[in-house]
Symmetry: C2
Subunit: 354 residues, 2 copies
């Protein structure tokens, strides 16, 4: 679908009359003419969803393989726009990444909006455009959707749910249960960017270099590994709870000990500085474009080379391995050479980071 909303200066213009409807009204979620206009004028042409809800209760889709991955996530990030992204880009990439972490090619996506009465129509329009751009980048088709409006004070501008179906086009079982002793853990880049991008905006911290979110779609990088026949045992993106929580979850799910080396985990100066100021632990801070891959040791070097050739993996590092035994525990050799147990984030650290 092409982009039909350019004015004479070739700038995109909002397809819903902003003069007439500068803000979202309760009626935009009422199931009547106003909701239909919003769907038909903004959502369908922009998101390219030819069979969106207004025309049918669901999308009819063709599934090319029998093995699939299925995922859903709601996004409540605050603020809606942040350095390196916005709630729309985050919502699409987040679901793309959840599918990629299952080793699945993202194919179809559903999007559901909970709008707060009074949300600026222009804000919605910017977010919707951002979702389309993100979907195009990953080649995922937005096929179905839903719109609800809640009263002023009962939301926070905009919440988005995305849900995805991905196809598994290989024979590998990419899951914690596939972990084996000796598996090498590769991390695709420096950690803590997304969480600190959000927190520096919220806390009005100023650094010489703005911390940008690492929000990015990971399927293309995962696909390269799969296409090369790299034996991948498990993948996990490092979202809420950060690297530490992801490793603990995998260790617990697999019932195997994991060991990592702190000095191998890249953290930028800005992120480290911001974490110190706010009293946060970078290993617990959320990322939106970083993941760990558990690779059969025979393929580890090859995987590392492949990842480093990719824009989203150029600073990839081997950070640790799966150890012998059946104890669920993550240990880390610290910078000063001591070994300690890594824990999952225990309480609240960064609310509404995604």
């Amino acid at each position: 679908m092409n982009k039909p909303f350019q004015d004479k200066q070739n700038k995109f213009v909002c397809p819903v009359s902003i003069q007439r409807y500068p803000n979202v009204l309760l009626a935009h979620g009422g199931g009547g003419r106003l909701m239909n206009n919003l769907i038909e004028k903004m959502f369908i042409p922009t998101l390219g969803a030819s069979h969106l809800k207004s025309k049918h209760d669901g999308a009819l889709v063709e599934l090319p393989t029998r093995r699939a991955a299925f995922t859903t996530d709601s996004y409540v990030v605050r603020p809606l726009f942040f350095p390196g992204g916005d709630i729309g880009k985050l919502a699409v990439n987040g679901t793309v990444n959840d599918l990629a972490m299952c080793g699945a090619r993202p194919l179809y996506m559903g999007t559901s909006f909970i709008l707060e009465e009074g949300l600026s129509m222009e804000t919605l329009w910017r977010v919707v455009q951002s979702m389309r751009a993100a979907a195009d980048e990953s080649g995922v088709e937005l096929v179905t959707g839903d719109t609800k409006v809640v009263e002023r004070g009962k939301g926070d501008g905009l919440y988005i749910n995305t849900t995805g179906i991905g196809m598994i086009e290989h024979d590998q079982v990419v899951a914690p249960s596939s972990l084996e002793q000796g598996d090498v853990i590769v991390l695709n880049g420096d950690i803590g960017r997304h969480g600190m991008a959000i927190m520096t905006v919220r806390e009005h911290l100023a650094f010489e270099n703005v911390i940008e979110s690492d929000c990015a779609p990971l399927w293309d990088l995962v696909r390269e590994l799969l296409d090369a026949g790299v034996e991948i045992h498990c993948l996990r993106d490092l979202t809420r709870g950060g690297l530490a929580s992801a490793l603990v979850e995998i260790s617990e799910a697999a019932g195997r000990p994991i060991h990592i080396e702190e000095r191998e985990v890249p953290i930028s100066e800005e992120v480290r500085g911001a974490c110190e100021i706010l009293g946060l632990e970078p290993f617990h801070v959320a990322n939106e474009g970083r993941f760990v891959a558990f690779i059969a040791s025979k393929d580890a070097e090859r995987a590392l080379v492949l990842m480093r050739k990719h824009p989203l993996g150029h600073s990839a590092r081997i950070i640790g391995e799966v150890k012998k035994g059946n104890v669920a525990r993550v240990t880390m050799k610290s910078l000063i050479g001591t070994s300690r147990i890594v824990h999952m984030l225990s309480g609240e650290q960064l609310p509404r980071i995604c």
Copy 2:
């Protein structure tokens, strides 16, 4: 999965310690230990989702057919509990029905919660149990999920998104594009119950007989029609915007005129009375267990007999037909014999009805 939370009196007890956590905290959405506890102790055992999010980023599923339906909906109904249902039952049945209206057998479902900080844990627990009961009733498997928490005053207790994948196990194309002149329109029961159940609670209206929501899963009834080989051209449940909006949408999508007879559309005395008091038009009021089926005229009588044998169709009626021509217009012969054009609900009527 059995129900593991019975105390000695055989009553269900909340698996998360209510004494320790009487209310939802921000940390329950933080990606750390508290969120994991909520997922592992309440969501996974109750919803029966053996491969829910905490263990993997998405669910790996087997798809028995290539043709599928895919749908997503967010639920923001207020109040959370109402006569005849609650937000959990509504969220599961709503997605089951969207799939059924595509002629698809509901197979997998994802559930995503947006909780407001301070929500009573017992309320959440009641809703989760209700979701499980509804899922069991339709034989749908809850396979993946997500949990977010927003600050007090940024939500309204609880919003739920459900998303579903359904399998199309027949060769019919159930969609507005299949409409043909002469198709008979069958309605499975009286209209307006769900909307008026909500409104009478909100407006504190008291009637001799409480109006209960018609919230119900429609797949079993649709399946009976499909299994009998009834030629179904289109199905649509009568949710937001009611019967009138659904017919106008279908007429517009199909580019065909539709005619109905007002006297054939059943409306209970209670619903009619409540609508009069509140100044609402029953044809625009939402339903959650009512649908129209566009049936090839040769099969109309057979479909009606089948539907009337089913508990959710015992008062089914033929209410109209698809007329000749290619004009998108819905007309209705009124009780007094005049004919008028039926319009889609134009603005806001009943906010947050689902």
